[in-house]
Each structure stands twice: as C-alpha cells, then as structure tokens.
C-alpha cells in the first residue's frame, strides 16, 4: 500500500486514496483530502462527515447514499451538490471510512 503525507502526517492509503487506518483520520487530514478533491468544507459537509464517522463506528460499514440522506438531515439533492460526482465515494474518502461496498 502506498504511503502518503497528509497534513504533515505519514498515512497509508489504497490505490484510490482511501485511508487504510481509521485512526489516521483527523479534521486536518479531512480538510486536506477535501482540498485535493477541490472542496472547501462547510458546516453541511461536516454534518455529513460526522454522521458517516459515527455510523461507521456503530455498524463497521460505510453508509450508502440512501442511509446518509435518511439519517444525517441532508437531503439527496443537497448531498450531490455538496460532494459533486459521487457523494457516496467522495464523502467516504474525506470522512476516512472505506469506500462503500455499494452493490453485489
């Protein structure tokens, strides 16, 4: 697995840039990853990220888009605007949780 320095910290990421170790995550790391994705994080972004992290801790699975919009208080339309081009994947990457296993 490739190593990468994010926010002054040496972290392990996979080929797609997802953090491999959840403990490497911090708000600073999230901001840095978001910047790479061309995003400046606002309150609504954090609302989604905080939900995703707490849900992951509870279920050990990354939430789907439907789950995020049902439980985080952000509706689907807004979610797509907050994280353009695939909110499930992009928000997961910034929140430091694994890429959602959408489907089988």
């Amino acid at each position: 697995m490739p190593q990468k320095t994010i926010a002054g910290k040496e972290v392990e990421v996979n080929e797609e840039g997802f953090l491999q170790n959840p403990n490497d995550w911090s708000k600073e790391v999230a901001k840095e990853i978001a910047k790479e994705e061309g995003l400046e994080l606002g309150d609504k972004h954090w609302q989604v990220i905080d939900y995703m992290r707490s849900d992951f801790q509870e279920t050990e699975k990354s939430p789907t888009v439907r789950r995020i919009t049902k439980n985080s208080g952000i509706n689907t339309k807004d979610l797509y605007q907050l994280f353009p081009g695939g909110p499930g994947k992009k928000a997961a990457k910034i929140a430091g949780v694994p890429k959602p296993v959408g489907c089988v």
Partner: protein, 413 residues
C-alpha cells in the same frame, strides 16, 4: 406442540417449507403465512416482453406448491413483535412462534422516484419486474417502430442484478431478428454503477459485449427525476437521457412490514448474520432470500443455497447445538446474451465471477463467463428445475451450497 412460522411463501419461503417438512419431527407444527394465491417463476418475467413466455407459462397455484402437511395461513401480517415471539395479522389475529423464518423478499417501489408514476407510466415507461409491467411492455415493444430506448437501473441493490443487462442483450437481438428495426433504434444502458456489472472481471467482459452490440452505456447515473414533458430522465448531477421508450428497474425494497416492525435497514432489508443466517435482532429469528441485507446477489440461486445451509442451522438451534453451517454468499446465474446464447457466472462473498468450467472442472459441460449455446439451454431448462427440484428442496446433482474454487481461472483470464 412447538411452532415454526415461515413469513412469506415465495421462492425462499416455499423452499424452506419443503426442507422443514422433510427434516422436522412430528412435534413441530410448520406454518407458512402468504396472502397470495399465485407463485410466479420470476426469471420468466425477462422473456415475457419478447413474447417468449405468456403469463400462464410461468405461474402456478401456491396450493400445489406448499407441502401438504404445512399449515397455510392466507393473510397479511401487520407486525412482528419479536419481544413476545408473536405476529399480528391484518385481521387482528395473533400467531405465536418458537422460531420465525423471514422470507418476505423484495419488490419494486416506483413511488421512490419523482415523476416515474407520471403521465408516461405504462405508456412510454415500463418495468419488467412485475407480471403487469412485463405484459404491457410486450405490447409496447410489438408496436414500437424505432427511436430511442433507454434500459435503466434506478438504484442498487436490485433483485437479479444481471436482469437489466440481459434485457438489453435480448432487446438488441429481438429488434434485429424479429422486428428488423435495430438500425432505426438507439439502445442506451443507464446505470448508477461505474460499469456494466458490479464485479470487475465480469464488468469488463459484459462491457465489451455491450459495445459489440452497439449498446451505449451511461454510467454513474443517479436518477433525480423523470421529466414527463421532455421525455427524459435527469440525474442529480444534471445529465439527461431522453427516450421514446424507457424500460426501468425501480428502487427495490424489502417489505413494509419490516419497516413497521422496526427490524430493517434503510431499504427495509433485515440485518442478518452473513454466515449463520440468524437475524441480528433476536436469536430465534432467521432470514433468507431477498429479504436479507447480505452482501450477495438477490437471486433465486442464492435463496436455494441459503436454504440448504439454514435447514442445518435451524436443526442445530432446535437441538441446542452450535451452528454447524456457514453460508459463503454463493450465487449462480445464467446471463442471456441474445441470439440463443448465454453466459454463466458462479461466485460468492469473496470470489468474484471469473472464466472457467462448471459444474465439473475441465469437463463442464457449462462454460463460465463465456457465451455458449449450452448455457442458454441450461437457462431455459431451469424453469423445470425450479418447479420440480428447487421448490421441493431436492438437491441438484454436482451443485452444492458452497461455491467450488476448482474449475475457475482465479486470476481472471
């Protein structure tokens, strides 16, 4: 007398009833709760729009399918009270149980998408996951004279995830051979996935086949709404795909009853232990078929393999033993590719579909992830196997509940 109640008499529930009647002693009463009279051979829905099957070819009465010694309660269930091991029926009767098996399946919910049930519904927009939809789509296709057809998946997971692809392949060959209007028709395959299928090797091979057949792919398309005026579907990121005929697979969800009983996830599927098939909510509830939240396909083959595992685990549970059987996510699906040929894929939680031979290594006779006439004949003979072996819980020779690695080219090609 102790009671085991099966909730739902579809593919999974009927198979479980057949297993239980063979294996449980007389001190158990087996009850199946199913409000409907008819049982459809659901893989047949795919062929109805092309006139291969009529409705009467794929339907039988539940009365003829449930084992005789099973008590059939023909009623809807309003609520599962898992704390008191009790079910409340719509007619206000109560049924208590010692063991509950949930087999309430999944179904399409077109209401979930804005505009889908608008003016064009069942005029220019059809599904083929219901008998009514498949019948009406057949009529629309016979009247179709050329234009844009979009084959569309709303949201994953869906029952039988390969069915929309099969539909696109069959549509291509139907329009070319039977109708001679393929050159006047543009077919577009619209999917929320990043490619043709969910797993990399199969996605690549099936993606090539779409290209070969001149079927355009619009990927990563998450539908926001149907615009009935402009006759197009619109994604959350603002892309539009216009259509003269839209064939869509609406959002699939588990039963409303699961939501009302507060034992489901956001799509009303029941959180289930992926190995033992025990419900997470309570130790005397088990789940199989499309109603689980397991990370494998929602498909009849999966329900069949699960049933072979679950019957052993239920006997373990009754006899106070540790669970002896683990489900591995085994799925096995034929994929019709048009022109009288089909693919076959065989996979589980960990092993994605790859090329190889099935069920015997080297000998086959079926080929994995490769189109052949024999695979197509396998698919067509499956209807007989379904009614006469699967639903009756008879073992299929050489095809076990656990996936075999032998005969598979594990590194892909």
């Amino acid at each position: 007398m102790k009671r085991i109640v099966i909730l739902g008499g579809g593919t999974a529930g009927t198979m479980m009833a057949s297993h239980l009647i063979k294996r449980l002693k007389d001190d158990w009463k087996i009850i199946i709760i199913e409000p409907k009279e008819d049982h459809y051979y659901q893989p047949g829905f795919l062929f109805m729009p092309f006139g291969v099957y009529k409705e009467k070819d794929i339907v039988k009465k539940n009365r003829s399918l449930f084992p005789k010694k099973v008590d059939w309660v023909k009623e809807r269930v309003a609520n599962i009270d898992h704390q008191n091991n009790s079910l409340l029926l719509k007619n206000n009767e109560k049924i208590t149980y010692d063991i509950l098996i949930i087999a309430t399946g999944s179904h399409t919910v077109p209401q979930e998408t804005e505009g889908l049930l608008g003016d064009l519904w069942q005029k220019s927009i059809f599904d083929f996951y219901t008998p009514e939809g498949a019948i009406k789509l057949h009529k629309a296709l016979t009247e179709f004279t050329g234009g844009d057809i979009a084959v569309h998946i709303t949201e994953m997971p869906i029952k039988c995830p390969v069915a929309p692809l099969e539909f696109a392949f069959l549509l291509d060959s139907y329009l070319a051979k039977k109708r001679k209007i393929r050159n006047k028709t543009k077919i577009t395959f619209v999917t929320p996935l990043s490619g043709a299928f969910t797993k990399p090797v199969a996605s690549k091979i099936l993606g090539h086949l779409l290209e070969e057949k001149n079927i355009h792919v619009v990927a990563d398309f998450n539908i926001e709404k149907v615009d009935n005026q402009k006759k197009c579907i619109v994604s959350y990121d603002g892309r539009e795909v216009s259509f003269d005929l839209l064939v869509t697979v609406p959002t699939n969800m588990g039963a409303k009853l699961i939501e009302d009983s507060e034992i489901g996830d956001e799509l009303n599927f029941v959180p289930t232990d992926k190995a033992t098939l025990q419900a997470e909510v309570k130790e005397n509830i088990f789940v199989l078929g499309d109603s689980t939240n397991l990370p494998t396909s929602k498909a009849g083959s999966v329900a069949h393999f699960e049933a072979e595992i679950l019957i052993e685990n239920i006997l373990d549970y009754i006899n106070d033993r540790e669970f002896s059987h683990n489900f591995d996510g085994h799925a096995n699906c034929f994929i019709e590719s048009g022109y009288g040929k089909a693919f076959l894929i065989d996979f589980n939680y960990l092993q994605e579909p790859v090329t190889g031979r099935f069920p015997l290594p080297k000998l086959g006779p079926l080929s994995l992830l490769k189109k052949s006439r024999l695979n197509h004949l396998g698919k067509m003979s499956f209807k007989w196997i379904y009614w006469n072996m699967l639903l009756k819980a008879k073992k299929i020779p050489l095809v076990g509940a656990t996936m075999k690695f032998e005969g598979k080219n594990i590194k892909g090609e």
